[in-house]
Structure formats: C-alpha cells, structure tokens
Symmetry: C2
Subunit: 186 residues, 2 copies
Amino acid sequence: MAKKETSKARLRHAAHRLFADQGYRETTVQQIAEAAGLTERTFFRQFKDKSDVLFAAHEEFIAALLKAITECKEEQSLVKVVSGYREIAKQVFDDTHTMTAARHEIIMADENLYERELLKANQVTQQIQAVLEPTYGIDDAAFASKLAGNIYQLAFDTWVKQTEPEKLSSLVWHYYQKYCDFKTRN
Amino acid sequence: MAKKETSKARLRHAAHRLFADQGYRETTVQQIAEAAGLTERTFFRQFKDKSDVLFAAHEEFIAALLKAITECKEEQSLVKVVSGYREIAKQVFDDTHTMTAARHEIIMADENLYERELLKANQVTQQIQAVLEPTYGIDDAAFASKLAGNIYQLAFDTWVKQTEPEKLSSLVWHYYQKYCDFKTRN
C-alpha cells in the first residue's frame, strides 16, 4: 500500500495534475478538491487560493536550505551557500523535473505569479544573508547570499528548460565554476 | 519663470508631494489631479492607476542606463555595467534623495508594490544581459548583469536610508570595490 499522504499533499498533487492536464487558468478550486477526494472547505484550510498551491513548498524549502548552509563545513561564505543550494537541489529537485518544469511554465506565463516568485527568491536571499552576517560581516553576507542566489537561478533556469534534464545539483556546481571563471576575467 | 512642465511631470510631482504630506494610501487620484490643476481624465491618459505614478520613470531609467553602458569605454563586462549604473546615478539620483527615499518607503510598506519593484529590477538585469550577450557571450553577460545589479542594489539600499546622504554614484563605486575585496576572499 502506498504511504498515506496528508490532505495538503493530496491537494497539491491533484492540483499539479490538473494544471498539467487542462491548464492552470482553467482549473478551479472545486475541481482540485474533487480530484483529491476532499472538500473545498478542506482546501481553504490549507491554502488561501489556487495560486497558493504553487508556493506551498516555499517555507519548507527555506528551512531545509538554511539548515544545509548552517551544517555545511566549508569555511568561505560563497562556497558554503552554493553547497547548501546544491545539497537542497539533491534532496528536493533532482527527481522532480517534470512537475517543477510544469510549475515554472505556469509561473512564467502570469506576471502576478512571477512577481510573487521573485519576492520569494528575494526572501530566501535575505534569510541567508541574516544567517551569514554574524560570522562573515554585513558585506560578505550580502555578496555571498546574492551571488549564490544568482548562481542557483542560472542553474535552475537552465534545468527547467532541458528536455533531457541533468541533475540540478550538478548544474548548481557547474554554474559555480562558471562564476569562478568569470571572476578571473572581471 | 520656471520651465514649463508636461502634464505627466506635473501629475508626478503633485502625487509625490501628496504622498509625502498625507500618505500614499490616503491619497486619491482626484486629489492628485486637483493638486496638479488637471482633470482625472488627464491623469488616466498618462497613468493606469495611482501606483503607476511610482513606476513612471522606469522606461526612461532603462533607456538611459542601456545608453550609458553601451557608450562606456571600459572593456571588461562587469566594470562596464557598473560604470553605466554610476553614470545614471549621477544623472538621475544624486540630487533627488528626498523624493527617492520617500518613494522607496512607500514601496517597502506595500508587498504588491515591492513585488512590482522587484519585477522592474529583474527586467533591467535582463535587458542589460541582452545588450552584453553578443560581445561577451551568454555566461559573462549573465554574471556581469546580475552582479552589477547586486552592487547597485546594495548602494541604493544604503543610500535611501542615509539621513545625510552621500552621492549615490560614489556609493555604487564603493560597493564595486567591496565586491572586488569580496572576490579575493571567495
């Protein structure tokens, strides 16, 4: 028997299946609830609205990322943050290309969703910066968090477009090395 | 006699005065139009809504920035983009601290406005990247545009909080040098 999913996870998976099958705009909360075998009332206990489903994993992602960064043994700030991203890419994304790419396509097609995505990415950077600041000081914390965010973004944007996807974690490292090349020239 | 302002500029200045005096939320389009000695109909010919006033200078800013980058004689991609930002800071922002800081405060207090600000900043980075790509290749264009955006952002965030403001253009250069220090350590 399959492991029992929480109602939140059931709703998320049902929503993503419907988004993929019939489109994000065409999908209603009622359809999501029905497909998950739950009520709309249950849906609204878990999510503010349909778009909220797309960002449901954000808090989890931040928490796991901050943990990975804190536990990373690297001493230099930038490589520490990049290693954290790489670790999370391994844990969360290496096996979820299809769903992540579909989600990304929905977000890129809607300016409001894309704005929200940028806000979330910005929050991630700020939280990493706050974690680094006591050890590395304000400037290094700012540059390491922003730059690692840039590196992750480049890896992610490449990855979601790949039809035969590499591992996101490998791409994170690949773009870190591209940055290392860049800085020898700049 | 003062130089005659366009109706768009009159509306912008009237709006910013009202935002500063009585608050952004409390200000209506009707009040803005009246304060500018114009009609609401004229307002809506220039702006979609009240929030649009806050982003009215964006297209101008991008055009001037791309021009400055293109005209800059520096050869290395990063210093070329940073120099472009510094030039625009000189032209546009060095003498407008009060209004820019007030605008920034309005934007930071409202999540929707802040999301839009992030979207605009992201568009700036993408347009710079597109300008650099033919000369510098895709990777250097990506890193130089993102990194210069980070440097400008750090300078700008520092500047708007200063009560005795330095020149934004000096701060842009200052943060570029901080980045140069950072990369020797990372």
